[in-house]
């Protein structure tokens, strides 16, 4: 009986590209600025009836 080799599996694992981690939009500076701008706009103009 021949012994099965797991060489190809370990080779693939060793050289597999790490999956790209997607940072949350919340971590970005542009999003923080966008949220600040949204809050300022709402504070200035308010909301139409039924929206709050």
């Amino acid at each position: 009986m021949t012994k099965k080799s797991n060489k190809s599996t370990s080779h693939a694992t060793k050289h597999a590209k790490p999956e790209k981690k997607i940072k949350s939009i919340r971590e970005t500076q542009w999003h923080k600025e966008k949220m600040k701008r949204a809050a300022e706009t709402i504070a200035r103009v308010g909301l139409p009836k039924g929206f709050e």
Binding site: I25, A38, P48
Partner: protein, 147 residues
């Protein structure tokens, strides 16, 4: 929806939706995110970002992947999903640039019949919120479920 859309993956919180734009520039990962606007109780801001090579999401890039209509239909679909999951919340939409805000207006216009059947849509002109009308410039938008 009028247009074909991309399949999205929702986060467990249903506050983030990720999909792949496919076109001549290849596959580009896009993400739509909804976040509570500070100082409000039920208002959530919509943000759309493209994934950069460094793993950051950017909302100022012009992807030009020849699939704008499909991307916008997908964003409109996430609006529906979000409001169905969170019926007491409202969505605030404003682009980082005038061009991006115009793009959001086109997204609403393209999907208006479908959206208007279920949602109230307002546009901001100066300091006034007005019911959304086609071919009108707005600086921001509000969307919520009709009561």
């Amino acid at each position: 929806m009028k247009s074909d859309r991309y399949i999205t993956r929702a986060s467990r919180s249903t506050l983030e939706y990720t999909f792949n734009s496919e076109g001549p520039k290849g596959r580009i990962i896009k993400r739509v995110s909804y976040d509570s606007v500070p100082g409000t109780l039920h208002l959530y801001n919509l943000a759309l970002g493209d994934l950069n090579e460094d793993g950051n999401l950017n909302d100022t890039v012009i992807t030009n992947n020849k699939d704008t209509r499909k991307v916008l239909a997908t964003v409109a679909w996430t609006v529906k999903q979000f409001l169905h999951k969170h019926p007491h919340k409202s969505i605030y939409i404003e682009g980082n640039t005038k061009a991006r805000t115009r793009l959001y207006r086109i997204a609403i216009s393209n999907n208006f019949d479908s959206l208007n059947a279920e949602f109230e849509i307002f546009g901001l002109t100066g300091n006034d919120w007005r019911p959304f009308k086609h071919n009108t410039n707005y600086s921001a938008f509000l969307v919520h479920l009709k009561k």
